[in-house]
Symmetry: C2
DNA sequence: CACGGCGATGACAGCGCTGTCAACGAAAGG
DNA sequence: CCTTTCGTTGACAGCGCTGTCATCGCCGTG
């Protein structure tokens, strides 16, 4: 019950190991008949090529790295599964790595991963995708990588993202169209570039509809439930409280919902609440959240796709922008007269 | 800016590569002075040994595999981080793998992972830890592995778990002590062994307090929100509805909460709701859930710990049972008079 | 003083593959 | 008819390490 090697397959098929290697790597110049014989032998022996040997001997490791820092559990799992799904299609494997540190320490961590595991490429998720130091080091290193939702689009390196600003604008306009004029906003974590994009979209919608921007209605949050709860309490106890609150993600929106419950403010009758991301949370709170569907799974799937394509073609990876979608549920409605 | 090898370090330190290898592997019989020189050279060159080369040449790959099937995002992330944290302490890396299939197909998937990646050991999370076919194959293969919350404790293989039955009993007793006599119960996914343990604990508590078990108050769920919602609706529209519902996990408890909202039943005034797991969800719904804290992170940390210890000592891994904790929040209270 | 034992170090094979290049026969061209 | 080309296959080196075994100098012992 020991591990089979390429020699076992070669012997069973009556060919040289190099021919087995050719078949496994889909190289040309193998007679179809020979190819079939090798494939049959490999199947019979349940042969699995050793990734270690492959990456040591060749230029490819069949490994893609996914690096992240500290995203929410739901977001992370979606990214992870999106990247895994695409890897599986190409018989690649995904190496998931949680990074630590910032700046130089972070870079060392990631370079260490690359050196140790020989990954062929990297999918860099936010907020790591915003670390200039890391991106520069990867560029210098010459390792192919694709960033998810980076902050610096002028940078040449490839990325996959969605239109955060447009989505936030559209959501704000939804609230305006409902009839809201005084709308609260909770900003996301200051380290995430998406936070400022969403704020920008919010302001753009106000401007377009000639509604004055009131700084009192804007609170700083940190993308976590507690920060939304706190910001919600502050907004709802304002002398002239908003009739709607748009939180930069669902976790914080759930916090606002709780704040409203505490203050006995019925949602959506006297307060509309909107979120962002469309995570699991949006569907399990009451009322269910109107939110922006962020295609996390697809973002990672697509990033991995671009990476694998570039590995195959040898060209630099391309770039993609994925569509978002406004999801209307029960947490938003016209304001009370 | 290319990858450094052991030869570079050996040259810089003025020793043979074998000596560098000895130092890196903490082998004895190296003069302290030599060791220091090698360490300094490795540090200077930012040398990272190639995992591929190590696993190809030696008996160890410095890789641990974590296999899972389809747990909730929060649970998965906790496991993943628990295992990663322990791996990092020993300079091991964690290979996370989502499995597909059942029975033989599942086994092939996992054996394929082992063969390809040369992992030194496996942490097997539920519900995979309940697959007899897989466990048998791993045993036969002779690869060290630790199961998390397995179903078959008579089996010789090592595991880490918590006392699901005791926890469910304790939670039920909490509801009984509040004064509830008619208590609904939502069973977890039938494929998860924990489901039957929790049901058993529920029944044990009723029995101990001489409360008759009414099958009408027990609904089958599937550990997901929607199933809790549905079961909640059924329970609460019963001719003689329960005054408390104990759901086998937090997701389903959140569903019950929503069902209560729909039916305008105030929680906890007219209905108490209890969950299980103490995931993130328990703290973001309203009212916040009374639940059992399941030490997922620690479970994985501990499983990885046992695995690494056994790798070091060469002995078979040990077994551990971790403590749970009842968390009382606002979703449970004495029933209305 | 000769010898054995031991701690410290190095030489070298080889893990399982891929890359390179050579070999060989058949088809194509003069 | 011989030469060239091309498709097919194999021999072999070597990726960066670890395991095995040899080597060497130094100590203690009879």
């Amino acid at each position: 019950m020991t591990r089979k090697t390429i020699h076992d397959v070669a012997r069973a098929a009556g060919v040289a190991i190099k021919t087995v290697s050719r078949v496994l790597n889909d190289e040309p110049n193998v007679r179809p008949e020979t190819r079939a014989r090798v494939l049959a032998a490999a199947e019979m022996l349940q042969f699995q090529p050793s990734l270690s040997a492959r990456s040591l001997a060749g230029r490819r490791s069949y490994l893609i790295g996914l690096v992240y820092e500290n995203p929410s559990a739901n977001y992370l799992v979606e990214l992870q599964h999106g990247a895994m799904a695409r890897c599986r299609q190409e018989k690649f494997r995904l190496f998931v790595h949680q990074c630590s540190g910032r700046g130089e320490e972070l870079t060392r961590d990631v370079i260490g991963l690359i050196d140790q595991t020989h990954v062929d490429g990297l999918v860099v998720s936010p907020p790591l995708s915003e670390s200039a130091h890391l991106i520069e080091a990867l560029d210098q290193r010459g390792l192919p990588f694709v960033r998810i939702a980076p902050n610096d689009l002028k940078h040449v390196s490839p990325y996959v993202d969605m239109d955060d600003e447009g989505a936030a604008r559209e959501m704000t306009e939804h609230l305006i169209e409902c009839g809201h004029r005084r709308i609260g906003f909770i900003i996301g974590h200051p380290n995430h570039f998406a936070s400022s994009l969403r704020l920008r979209g919010f302001r753009a919608a106000l401007e377009r509809h000639q509604i004055a921007f009131d700084p009192a209605c804007v609170k700083q949050g940190y993308f976590v439930f507690e920060s939304g709860l706190e910001a919600g309490r502050e907004l709802l106890t304002l002398p002239d409280p908003p009739t709607a609150v748009f939180a930069s993600n669902d976790d914080m929106a759930a916090g606002v919902l709780l704040a409203a419950h505490e203050l006995a403010i019925p949602v959506p009758q006297r307060l509309s609440v909107a979120g962002f991301d469309d995570t699991y949370i949006a569907r399990i709170v009451w009322p269910r959240l109107t939110t922006v569907h962020q295609p996390s799974y697809d973002l990672a799937f697509s990033a991995t796709d671009l990476l694998l394509q570039s590995l195959k073609s040898g060209d630099a990876p391309k770039t993609a922008r994925l569509p978002y979608k406004l999801i209307r549920r029960e947490s938003t409605a016209p304001p009370a007269p």
